[in-house]
Amino acid sequence: MTATNSEATLPAQGIEAPRSGRIDPKYLRSNPSKGSFEMVAWVFMRVSGAALVVLIFVHLWTNLMVGDGIHQIDFAFVAGKWANPVWQFWDLTMLWLAMLHGTNGMRTIINDYAEKDSTRLWLKSILYLASTVIIILGTLVIFTFEPCLVDESGTLLEYAPSFCQNVVN
């Protein structure tokens, strides 16, 4: 482990910069032309991570720490939140960022551990398929949600949130 690139050594600490050309070839999974995609992905992991701290912590705070916490969560609670476009937008952003961040992280892990080309292809295909389905499903759920459901006779279902009283009739 002595062949180091002295140019890449950080002056003050003497830590070699990561990825300074010392990667064992058995870990190299793709041709170098993919470089700029990997760079964008690297930045995205950090930017989305920072945003997700706020998005997720507020999500957990509003759903678990205030009001009746875990006991308050039911259909009417979700209806009440999504009646507000701010929470619709909040959940939409959280859904997309968390899924893309998580999917990219899983891609890294598959690249690390699956050594056979065909195994990686399979695992990543399954990953991308699952992620696409979840992102589309979650997006549709937010935008097609109907809080004030009625039965055939037009009366409000008992699970409907209280604000529906003023909407229906």
Binding site: G14, E16, D74, F75, A76, L95, G102, L137
Partner: protein, 145 residues
């Protein structure tokens, strides 16, 4: 500063991973264990999120279906599961911020180890507060099995 007389490394990291040495930023010791923890929590949260979007999508099936499934989250075993989940998120989040600081902050590589201790202390404090509040709310509204 990193080196005193005779070039002995006194700072938190060492240039090369000599056998029995102190490891590098990534290999061995804290750098590696925090990475293992980050990876495991990341995978766990990912699978939770897949299930979580599926259970939330039940609001489009029927209120009864959603309430029935979400009711499971109020079972005592799930309460412990939620504490575990939040523990994973909080670690991944705080350690993620530490990774970002190591990458972008000028002094980041120098203090990566101290920052890991800060992550663990903050994690502990946050988790004590969260668990106390979550359990208190749970016992207040619990109607028995």
């Amino acid at each position: 500063m990193p080196c005193d007389d005779a070039g002995k490394v006194t700072d938190v990291t060492q240039t090369k991973s000599t056998p029995g040495g102190r490891g590098t930023l990534y290999r061995g010791r804290e750098g590696m264990w925090s990475w293992v923890g980050h990876r495991i929590t990341g995978v766990g949260i990912f699978f939770f999120l897949l299930v979580h979007v599926l259970d939330t999508s039940l609001v489009r099936v029927s209120p009864e279906a959603y309430n029935a499934v979400i009711g499971a989250y109020k079972h005592p075993i799930m309460i412990l599961g939620e504490i575990g989940l939040v523990g994973a998120i909080v670690f991944h989040a705080f350690n993620g911020l530490r990774i970002i600081l190591v990458d972008f902050w000028k002094q980041g590589t120098r203090y990566h180890r101290q920052m890991l201790w800060a992550v663990l202390v903050l994690w502990f404090v946050t988790m004590v507060a969260f668990s106390v509040r979550h359990l208190m709310i749970f016992f207040e509204g619990w109607e028995g099995f």
